[in-house]
């Protein structure tokens, strides 16, 4: 792990001045992940989404590394093709044999959990030497806050509305990190932008792994979550402290918690994560006590599952 001093000297590979919203979690995720690649040349790809449309408005680009956007559901397949080209050209002697390069694909939760799941699964199974980074903000934010399979139980979204008959999303969220861990790739991690140093450390490990690696980064969206734009990091930290978003790694099949700070005993009630967010405000109205309790149960069940897998 690089020291803060070393990190401070590394170049930011996502230039400022892009058009993401103030307080957007995605750009923090990208910046910290790219810092983890060190000085090695890197090629980045991105699925269609906020991150892509806001950083590559022609003729400008915020990416100081070679970058490719293809479509919504195929960021993983596209970068797998770039990596394959590198190998083929290296075998042909057109790229020096000793040359190292890193490949990273970004996608939001819509482009990863939902429409891009097949493309991601294929790329992970094939074992391309690449890192896939999902920035999970729990909805289709670019098209205007529609529910995805990453949207939390009970959350309001424009396609899981709150009204007299329904109280937001009625399904549990998909556990994508476990699904990717089940691909038996060398490195999988669940991280958060609130632990910026930990995120860069996780990225360093992912880039250092030979073969496919996956990082699921918790990245709040102030616009979609109905929070002030200066609360991004605080909310992300609450997600970790309430064990809504446990931080863990799966290294060569071995699960381990990234932090011992949050335990079964001291984890904060999930209410503390939910209450500041406008997308959950209906949960605190009379009549929704049962739903609120169900959400807490769900968080406990998931945290317990992760701790057990980590041998705790």
């Amino acid at each position: 792990m690089a020291t803060i001093k070393e990190l401070s000297r590394r170049e930011d590979r996502l230039e400022g001045g892009h058009r993401l919203c103030g307080g957007c979690g995605a750009s923090i995720a990208v910046r910290q992940v790219l810092l983890g690649a060190g000085e090695t040349p890197i090629i980045a790809g991105c699925a269609t989404g906020c991150l892509e449309v806001s950083t590559t408005i022609y003729p400008y680009s915020s990416w100081k590394v070679p970058f490719i956007h293809n479509a919504f559901e195929n960021s993983a397949a596209t970068i797998s093709g770039v990596e394959a080209a590198f190998k083929g050209l290296q075998r042909a002697g057109k790229i020096p044999a000793g040359k190292k390069m890193k490949f990273v694909a970004f996608g939001g939760d819509g482009g990863t959990y939902d429409i891009g799941l097949q493309s991601l699964s294929g790329a992970m199974e094939r074992g391309h030497d690449m890192v896939y980074v999902c920035y999970d903000n729990g909805a289709y934010m670019n098209t205007g806050i529609q529910r995805s399979s990453a949207t939390p139980l009970g959350a309001w979204a424009t396609t899981s509305e709150v009204g007299s008959a329904h109280q937001g999303k009625e399904q549990r969220r998909k556990d994508l990190t476990s699904i990717i861990a089940a691909h038996n790739i060398p490195y999988v991690a669940q991280a958060s932008i609130s632990d910026w140093k930990g995120l860069t450390a996780v990225a360093e490990k992912a880039f250092a792994s030979e073969g496919a690696a996956f990082i699921n980064v918790f990245a709040p969206c102030p616009r979609g979550w109905r929070i002030p734009h200066d609360m991004t990091v605080e909310i992300a930290k609450l997600a970790v402290d309430t064990a809504y978003w446990p931080l863990f790694e799966v290294v060569e099949g071995e699960w381990k918690m990234s932090t011992r700070r949050v335990t079964r005993e001291n984890r904060k009630p999930v209410e503390e994560f939910l209450r500041p967010q406008g997308r959950f405000k209906h949960l605190f109205k009379a009549g929704n006590e049962e739903l609120l309790a169900r959400i807490q149960d769900e968080v406990d069940r998931n945290f317990d599952y992760v701790l057990k897998r980590a041998g705790q």
């Binding site: 040349p41 890197i42 090629i43 790809g45 892509e52 449309v53 590559t56 408005i57 022609y58 003729p59 680009s61 990416w63 100081k64 590394v65 070679p66 970058f67 490719i68 956007h69 293809n70 479509a71 559901e73 195929n74 397949a77 596209t78 970068i79 797998s80 093709g81 770039v82 394959a84 080209a85 590198f86 190998k87 083929g88 050209l89 075998r91 042909a92 057109k94 790229i95 390069m101 097949q118 493309s119 699964s121 294929g122 790329a123 199974e125 094939r126």
Partner: protein, 395 residues
């Protein structure tokens, strides 16, 4: 010194051999009948170390074209093959490949589209992709499939073109039938296709570029599309020039269209793909009986050789277009619409009729083509033409 050897092989094996000789840096492979034997054959070249190609066994055709786009943007020479449902699944990516101006070469085994499911030959798949911005070549024989594949690389990578190319052959009829063909020696093909020198390659990390940027919000989307139109227009001359060059080496003729008996034809059939052979056979027989029958085979569908067709068909008394695909609700099949448009500016109107034939591999017997010529002779002698569009040979 170019050396050719005579081989007896299927169209798919010859396409795979042509691809090996063109030495792609990356190939994406996904099975679909009747294309599969192309990527299977190539897998043997990979297994035996005969190619340097990075062979990527993708999990779908969508990821196939996605990975090809990534690899091509990275700066690699990229090839793949597909068919039917696979081509349909790629639809989104076909437009992105051409819009990003990536010289990918893909073979397509022309096959019917579901539903009902059917694995046999027609042109529904490829005609559904005709507006995707790819150069599209059709082969009549295994020989042409081989030659077209080699020429495709030069056409796609030509600096005046930089468009993806589909080299197509008819499912089973051409992909799986063993045919006699002349195969060129490896060195001659290698030197003909040359080294690919990519522009703006992602792998050139010293000169970072962004591919696939957002050109909306009043951005230059419209201008990008015009530049694609101009590239496709330029492809017309490039296809002919590359064809002439390959002809010079192989001794086999190549034009965007190929004609038979058109010097004095009074009745003529316009046809694409493997059926051209049957049509030529029937026309030859009729000519022996004194019928001035002719055939125009279209070898390049995009860019469409409109001027060549108008020139070949002007003055003909009756013309039939044979379409092996539908454009439901239109005046005729895709080829008919193109040919009629190509003839519109002629001073004298050429009577034109359309026949939809051979869908889902329905047999194209010589009697059916004889019936078309009989209809054409009737029209030429003043009898009423068959109304509109005819389904040829339906039970």
């Amino acid at each position: 010194m170019p050396t050719q050897k005579t081989v007896a092989q299927t169209g798919n094996v010859l396409v795979a051999e042509a691809m090996r000789q063109c030495a792609p840096d990356m190939m994406a492979a996904y099975p679909i009948t009747p294309q599969t034997t192309i990527v299977e054959e190539f897998a043997k070249f990979v297994a035996n170390g005969r190619v340097h190609t990075q062979y990527v066994t993708v999990e779908s055709e969508h990821s196939c074209m996605s990975a090809c786009i990534g690899a091509s943007a990275a700066g690699a020479r990229v090839m793949t093959a597909t068919s039917s449902q696979g081509l349909a699944l790629m639809w989104e990516e076909l437009h992105i490949a051409s819009g990003m101006r990536l010289p990918i070469v893909m073979a397509n085994a022309n096959r019917a589209l579901s539903a009902p499911i059917n694995i046999h030959c027609d042109h529904s798949d490829i005609m559904g992709a005709r507006d995707a911005g790819w150069v599209i070549l059709f082969a009549e024989t295994a020989q042409e499939a081989y030659d077209n594949t080699i020429m495709s690389v030069r056409i796609a990578e030509h600096p005046d073109v930089l468009l993806p190319v589909m080299t197509t052959l008819d499912g089973f009829i051409t992909t799986h039938s063993i045919d006699r063909a002349e195969m060129m020696d490896d060195e001659t093909v290698t030197s003909f296709v040359g080294d690919y020198v990519p522009k703006n390659a992602l792998l050139d990390t010293d000169h970072p570029v962004s591919h696939g940027n957002f050109a909306g919000l009043g951005g230059p989307y419209f201008e990008f599309k015009r530049s694609q139109r101009l590239a496709m227009d330029r492809a017309h001359g490039v296809v002919n020039a590359i064809g002439a060059e390959w002809s010079g080496i192989t001794g086999r003729p190549f034009g965007m269209i190929e004609t038979f008996g058109m010097e004095d034809a009074e009745v003529a059939i316009v046809v694409i793909g493997s059926t051209a052979g049957n049509a030529r056979h029937v026309a030859r027989g009729l000519r022996a009986k004194g019928v001035k029958a002719g055939i125009v085979k279209v070898r390049c569908f995009r860019p469409f050789p409109a001027a060549e067709l108008a020139d070949a068909l002007k003055g003909v008394k009756a013309v039939a277009v044979m379409d092996r695909s539908e454009s439901f609700g239109a005046e005729g099949g895709p080829l008919f619409l193109e040919v009629r448009s190509a003839l519109y500016d002629l001073a004298d109107r050429v009577p034109l009729v359309d026949y939809i034939y051979g869908l889902g591999g329905s047999d194209v017997k010589t009697e059916l083509i004889e019936r078309v010529f009989t209809d054409l002779s009737d029209i030429a002698s003043g009898a009423t033409a068959p109304a509109g569009l005819t389904y040829l040979g339906t039970r």
